[in-house]
């Protein structure tokens, strides 16, 4: 199988990640639940993972990294835990449902929402974000990269807008963490939401959020923490404040190894390789008659994603043909990005997304180009 659905999850994990998870499953106790060696070994590796994430994201303290199951949980915690009825929040058409649905839910609770439109290429005019700021605005929440088009969003520029107006800035780094450099200080990010299983190359069920020191997020859940047992309230200190219940220690051990792999390999190297594969594929398919490629390819920096349609074929049908005739895994349909499809005009047809990982080979890309060409010829 040729796996080109890495924007959904990276399937090929470094061997050290697999070894770390299986090792942890035979040795790890419950972190923070006692001072026995098994528990301490879990606490140590989890703390070390906070340190690695803090380093990766340019944070000020590992304590500001809280673990969750994925980006969706992190975004729910940030959005629900920071906004109050009467607040105004600004987001964009590029967002995934993990941002949009919590915001729609908050809208029902009295939060005003502005969604800044993109153009037909899925490009965002950041000045429109600034235009939407009003005296009730409390937060800007946006993605660092579209999961549908791969367009990269200059969050540093958005962060400057947030800073200029004293707004909270929440970033969805699902498509960029582990691939693009992220510096929460330089980008003025208050809450960075990430998942462990995509570019970070860790196991599914891992993820988290980095919260700037001084930003207080209301806990999403409360319960056992291993500390302050007789306190009737959830402890207020980070990261415990946002972590009730047993953590996914086995998964976090895998994420720990994955972060080690990223540090060793270098995310610049990984990004360069993934972009090389993406550009090769793009150059190979963009001029095929009947093929429409979506997104902005006028800039070098973009997520390693190419999304296209062939004629007016149902994207699901094309994706199925790619799988059954060529053994290529892609993602058709709506990609949980309803507004982005509205902007592209692909609500009914959906689109076929090819997303690359540095483990993919040139041969795989050539096979995918040939497959698209042959399927497009069938359409003629």
């Amino acid at each position: 199988m040729i796996y080109l659905d890495n924007a959904a999850t990276t399937m090929h994990k470094p061997q050290c990640v697999i070894d770390a998870v299986t090792g942890a499953m035979g040795s790890m106790g419950n972190a923070g639940r006692g001072a026995n060696e098994a528990s301490l070994s879990a606490s140590r590796i989890i703390y070390d993972t906070r340190e690695r994430l803090c380093r990766l994201f340019g944070g000020s303290s590992p304590k500001q990294v809280a673990f969750t199951c994925n980006s969706t949980e992190s975004l729910n915690i940030a959005i629900r835990g920071l906004l109050l009825p009467g607040d105004h929040v600004i987001t964009t058409m590029l967002e995934h449902n993990s941002v949009l649905r919590p915001l729609y839910d908050m809208e029902k609770q009295g939060v005003a929402l502005t969604i800044v439109k993109s153009d037909k290429k899925g490009l965002l005019d950041i000045s429109k974000i600034e235009d939407a700021v009003c005296n009730r605005t409390r937060m800007i929440v946006c993605t660092n990269g579209s999961n549908l088009t791969g367009n990269y969003v200059d969050v540093e520029a958005v962060g400057r807008v947030a800073k200029a107006h004293g707004l909270l800035f929440v970033v969805d780094a699902s498509q960029t963490a582990g691939v693009f450099p992220i510096d929460v200080e330089q980008m003025n990010i208050d809450v960075l939401c990430f998942t462990g299983h995509k570019g970070l190359l860790g196991p599914q069920g891992t993820g988290g959020l980095y919260v700037r020191e001084g930003v207080s997020v209301r806990p999403f859940k409360c319960g056992g923490t291993g500390v302050q047992t007789y306190n009737r309230s959830q402890p207020k200190e980070m990261p415990t404040c946002l972590e009730a219940g047993t953590l996914n220690g086995h998964g976090i051990a895998g994420l720990h190894a994955a972060l080690g792999y990223l540090e060793e390999t270098g995310i610049d190297h990984i990004r360069a390789r993934e972009q090389e594969l993406m550009w090769k594929f793009y150059e190979g398919v963009k001029d095929i008659p009947g093929v429409t490629v979506y997104g902005d390819f006028s800039v070098k920096e973009r997520c390693p994603i190419v999304t296209l349609n062939i004629g007016d074929y149902d994207s699901g049908e094309v994706s199925d043909a790619l799988l059954t005739d060529y053994g290529i895994s892609t993602r058709p349909g709506g990609h949980c990005a309803p507004l982005m499809h509205e902007a592209l005009g692909t609500v009914d047809q959906g689109a076929v997304r090819f997303s690359f990982c540095h483990y993919n080979t040139d041969e795989e890309v050539q096979t995918a180009i040939r497959a698209v060409r042959e399927l497009a010829q069938e359409d003629e």
Binding site: S43, R44, K63, T225, G226, V227, P235, E237, M238
Partner: protein, 78 residues
């Protein structure tokens, strides 16, 4: 049970703080170890750092330098 001795016991708000303490002490070769918070200090669970009284100054200086926040610093029989 072993005979108790008077020790320095540092408590923390979170497990993450306790882990930061253990790591920093190991890196700087400051002796001590993680123990459950003694009942004499606080009922309930949680981890604390147990060290010799004579190392107090060194420990306090290191915590200040590395930004590790304690809940309290006690002297108690452990």
């Amino acid at each position: 049970m072993k005979k108790k001795e008077l020790k320095l016991v540092v408590t923390f708000h979170t497990t993450a703080d306790a882990m930061a303490m253990e790591k920093a002490c190991k890196e700087q070769a400051i002796p001590g170890r993680i123990i459950p918070v003694p009942r004499a200090i606080s009922a309930g669970c949680g981890l604390s750092w147990c060290a010799e009284l004579s190392d107090r100054e060194q420990i306090v200086a290191m915590m200040k330098k590395t930004g590790i926040e304690e809940e309290e610093i006690h002297e108690c029989m452990v």
